[in-house]
């Protein structure tokens, strides 16, 4: 079953005369429970794509359907309702609220959905143990390491059981050890509860955790890889090969 259906979307920037096509007739779909990575050189439209799917940005044409709902047609209150109920976000710079503890940051995602306060505690502790952050729950962001912060942010994204988790360079600000730990943990709920993850990255190593990798170039799909029966170590060189094929343009890939 296709959870996410992206059809012929285009995104133009600029005015008449100097139009930049950030996304150029892009179509793909994601099944429920998939972990999809999107790779591509800078300026290939990865982040624009993610922003369009996450309803932060709007497309110029085309449709994006999540579980049958056309998100490009949503506006105002229904839009934020939709975002709150169906989407989970993980950002490169964590976007934790610095005035609140880890616990409260995670709980906030539930309380803005009007989840009853006595159900919040259980949900927060469960997701915290899955992501290995139980011991930092009472800490403020400034008292945590980058890896811990990102795992708290991930906990906030998945605690509401969203239909899809959208991750924008989640490992971008982390060292490789912390990145591995995050992806391991993030993979954990993915496998067990079939949460769907769409992750934008330019890091081949991070991408190798995904079950499918979509490569973008100039706003269009350049190539697509499916892990299939491979394990991560077998999958990684395949990704590297495509990255090399994309050439110097993905030079910032690790």
């Amino acid at each position: 079953m296709n959870l996410l259906e992206v059809q012929h979307i285009e995104k133009y920037y600029g005015k008449r005369g100097s139009i930049t096509k950030a996304l150029n007739d892009l179509s793909f779909s994601v099944n429920a429970g998939e972990f999809v990575a999107i790779m591509g050189p800078s300026g290939s439209g990865k982040t624009t794509l993610l922003n369009c799917i996450s309803t932060i940005d709007t497309v110029t044409s085309g449709t994006i359907a999540l579980d049958g709902t056309d998100v490009t047609a949503l506006k105002g209150r229904r839009l934020s309702d939709f975002r709150r109920k169906n989407l989970g976000f993980i950002f490169q710079d964590f976007n934790l609220l610095d005035t609140m503890t880890a616990y409260e940051n995670i709980a906030l995602a539930l309380s803005i959905q009007r989840v009853s306060p006595n159900r919040i505690d259980g949900a927060v502790r469960k997701v915290a143990s899955q992501l290995g952050i139980t011991e930092v729950l009472d800490n403020y962001p400034y008292q945590m390491s980058g890896g811990q912060k990102q795992r708290v942010a991930s906990a906030r994204a998945v605690v509401t059981n969203p239909k899809i988790v959208l991750a924008d360079e989640p490992t971008g600000a982390l060292d490789s050890k912390n990145a591995r730990m995050l992806l391991d943990r993030l993979g954990h709920p993915n496998r067990k509860h079939h949460a769907t993850i769409l992750m934008v990255t330019h890091d081949s190593f991070s991408a190798s955790y995904a079950s499918r990798v979509i490569f973008l170039k100039d706003g269009a799909i350049f190539h697509e890889l499916t892990r299939g029966a491979d394990n991560r170590k077998q999958f990684f060189p395949k990704i590297m090969r495509v990255v090399t094929m994309l050439g110097g343009e993905l030079s910032d890939a690790r």
């Binding site: 932060i56 209150r77 934020s80 309702d81 939709f82 975002r83 709150r84 109920k85 989407l87 976000f89 950002f91 976007n95 934790l96 609220l97 610095d98 005035t99 609140m100 409260e104 709980a107 906030l108 995602a109 539930l110 309380s111 803005i112 009007r114 306060p117 006595n118 919040i120 403020y140 400034y142 906030r156």
Partner: protein
């Protein structure tokens, strides 16, 4: 180049600057408006009471203006320093680019100069406009008609405003320059990267401080409401204790706040409440001092305005209802001579004036000339017990404890004659009856309690029964204040002529005197008052009698002048305090919004409604505006109680009305600043 940079900076920092500039402009306008009041008074009022009143008003307002200038100066220094701290990173950039500190301070000076110039210009234009509206208030204060309305511009006030504000801006420039030369690049660079640390105060210490604060405040409240006589001597101590108590209270509440919020788990984890609470908690500790100052300013504003308006309205009503006669003079025995144990003494006022060669009767038409009696040995008994002469009841002494209301006795026929002159109801008494007449609220209360139990009075050896079970509203002496602490009216036959006391001559002017009222008044004021001055205990400590004259016109005049004075002084201070409070809070909440933009972005990204975000901002802004106001309102209940002895003499019924007016003024200015902070904050966090 420097000017262009300054202009660019002002433009760029407009969201911080707007409220600052607005406040400067309002300050200039207020300063001008109240300084111009004196001149407007002179224009409106020339014919009625000469220049004396208006020059007194101008002088008072000018003196108050010095204090106001200090308050506004502190506000401007605070605001500009606050804004400067927010620009540390900008300064760091300038210094990194190789700008010398001298250039930076020159830039700041030119910024201050430009904003100063602009605010003075705009403020004066607004001030001149507002001052035309003010002239309507001036006219109604002096009960002048508005037909003679003129567009007035007071050049003296303009000059005074410019000079005062020029000095304030100069001080700001000097302080800023000093601050800039002391800045170190390394400190400036790191100032933006402060980690958001939530300091949690020791809860035990907080509890202790809270209890101390509560105790201090309770004691201060106790001081002002318990000791009726000593209220005024305690006022200073109570106010000082109130200030300290308020500061400690806010300090401890700031420490408590998060704990209390966290303990309400259910509520805390609902919607954006946790975020709102954390936002407030992250800054509450830094605003303890400013909130205390604001609370105290609000307290003064509420108390001052409410009592001033009540006093003014009360006096105006009293001169209308309690000054029915055109002229009054009396000769009373000095209290000191009574205290020395001499018997009652009487001196005919008409003869007294005649000794100085004046004929006080000359301008009078209708008049009453009579005297009261004094009985030192008056005794009270419970009703019916007088026959056995047991059960003596102590007479109430008036709150200020000078006289026993039962010792002063007036004959029924004299009293009723006077009431006919005043156009008030006569008193009916049968033989063997008496009535107590008073109009001072505090005395009324005590007498009513006493008389409700039924009291017989033995006056000049005769036992009389009380006709009524409460005191009767009435007075002999005219005046803008209620001052009758009580006297007894008895049937004519009771009195002993050898105990004659205060002599009264009260009457209305005859037709001729009325026809030349201005000259009559002038004659009376100059000649008779000159005689009075001789017997005034201030001038003569050996005189046995105190002779005092007054006219209705002078009572009305003095009520108008002192009423206007109180109104304008309290309005001036109140408005300035409100503007200062509102401006400080607005600056703080707006800059907090600027600091929190990223947080609101995060909220939006995780799917929080714009509506919920606005509500959270509303709650945060509301919290900081409401908390000091609530505490100030609570303080004011006791502040107004402190004024009750004075208000009681005027008539207390105007308090509610004037509290309502005060609320409107507070709502307009303080509420206005609240709205500006909220709307401005919303615009900032919505960005783009």
């Amino acid at each position: 180049m420097l000017v262009r940079l300054s202009l660019k900076n002002i433009q760029h920092g407009l969201r911080d600057f707007a409220i600052y500039f607005f406040t400067l402009t309002v300050a200039v306008a207020i300063f001008y408006v109240f300084n111009a009041v004196g001149g407007q008074t002179a224009a409106i009022n020339m014919s009625q009471m000469g220049t004396e009143a208006s020059s007194l008003l101008s002088q008072t307002l000018a003196t108050i203006s010095v204090f106001v200038a200090v308050v506004l100066g502190l506000l401007i220094v605070y605001a500009s320093r606050f804004l400067m701290k927010r620009r540390h990173r900008e300064f760091a950039l300038y210094m990194m680019l190789g700008m010398s500190q001298r250039r930076i301070s020159a830039m700041l000076v030119s910024e201050t100069f430009l904003t100063g110039l602009a605010s003075l210009g705009v403020g004066l234009v607004v001030g001149v406009g507002l001052s035309q509206l003010m002239s309507a208030l001036v006219a109604s204060m002096f009960e002048a008609d508005m037909s003679a309305f003129q567009f007035t511009v007071s050049s003296a006030s303009i000059v005074r405003t410019i000079v005062s504000f020029a000095i304030m801006y100069l001080v700001v420039m000097l302080l800023n320059t000093r601050a800039v030369t002391r800045m170190k690049l390394i400190d400036l660079m790191s100032s933006g990267k402060k980690t958001e640390q939530v300091k949690v105060k020791n809860p035990i210490l907080c509890t202790v401080v809270f209890l101390i604060a509560a105790a201090i405040l309770a004691f201060a409240y106790h001081l002002v409401i318990s000791d009726f006589d000593d209220t005024f001597s305690n006022m200073g101590i109570a106010t000082l204790m109130g200030c300290i108590g308020t500061l400690l209270l806010f300090w401890s509440v700031a420490g408590f706040f998060l704990k209390i919020a966290l303990s309400m788990r259910e509520h805390y984890l609902t919607g954006l409440n946790a975020f709102t609470v954390r936002q407030i908690a992250s800054k509450i500790n830094t605003v303890v001092f400013s909130m205390s100052v604001i609370c105290i300013m609000l307290f003064f504003t509420i108390t001052m305005m409410s009592s001033a308006f009540a006093l003014r309205n009360g006096m105006m009503e009293n001169v209308r209802t309690r000054c029915p006669a055109d002229f009054e003079t009396s000769s009373a025995q000095m209290l000191s001579s009574i205290a020395e144990g001499k018997g009652p003494a009487h001196d005919d006022v008409v003869e007294h004036y005649a000794r100085y060669g004046y004929d006080v009767m000359a301008p009078l038409g209708e008049y009453v000339h009579f005297h009261s009696y004094y009985d030192q040995d008056v005794t009270l008994y419970k009703a019916g017990e007088s026959a056995t002469e047991s059960e003596m009841v102590p007479a109430p002494t008036s709150p200020r404890a000078m006289t026993n209301p039962f010792s002063t006795i007036v004959r029924l026929s004299d009293y009723n004659q006077l009431m006919d002159l005043y156009g008030r109801d006569r008193l009916e008494l049968s033989d063997g009856e008496y009535a107590v007449v008073c109009d001072l609220e505090a005395s009324q209360r005590e007498l009513d309690v006493l008389l409700a139990g039924g009291v017989d009075a033995k006056v000049f050896g005769q036992v009389l029964k009380s006709r009524y079970d409460k005191s009767q509203d009435g007075f002999i002496k005219n005046g803008p204040m209620r001052q009758n602490e009580g006297f007894v009216v008895v049937p004519d036959g009771v009195v002993d002529e050898s105990c004659a006391a205060t002599d009264y001559l009260i009457g209305n002017y005859n037709e001729e005197a009325m026809a030349h009222l201005d000259e009559t008044e002038k004659m009376v004021q100059e000649q008779l008052l000159a005689v009075d001055r001789v017997s005034d205990p201030v001038n003569a400590d050996d005189s046995e009698f105190w002779v005092k004259s007054m006219t209705k016109a002078s009572a009305v005049n003095s009520a108008i002048v002192s009423g206007a004075m109180m109104t304008f002084v309290c309005l001036y201070l109140g408005v300035v305090f409100l503007v200062a409070s509102g401006a400080i809070l607005a600056l703080r909440t707006l800059s907090d919004s600027v600091d929190s933009v990223a947080r609101y972005d995060t909220l939006r990204k995780i799917g929080v409604d714009e509506g919920d975000i606005s509500r959270s901002l509303f709650k945060q802004t509301g919290f900081f505006f409401l908390l000091p106001l609530l505490v100030a309102c609570f303080h004011s209940i006791f502040g107004i109680k402190m004024m009750l002895p004075v208000l009681g003499a005027i008539g207390i019924q105007h308090v509610w009305g004037s509290i309502a007016i005060t609320c409107v003024v507070i709502l307009a200015i303080y509420g206005g600043y609240f709205l500006m902070s909220f709307i401005g904050g919303k615009r900032i966090i919505h960005g783009k």
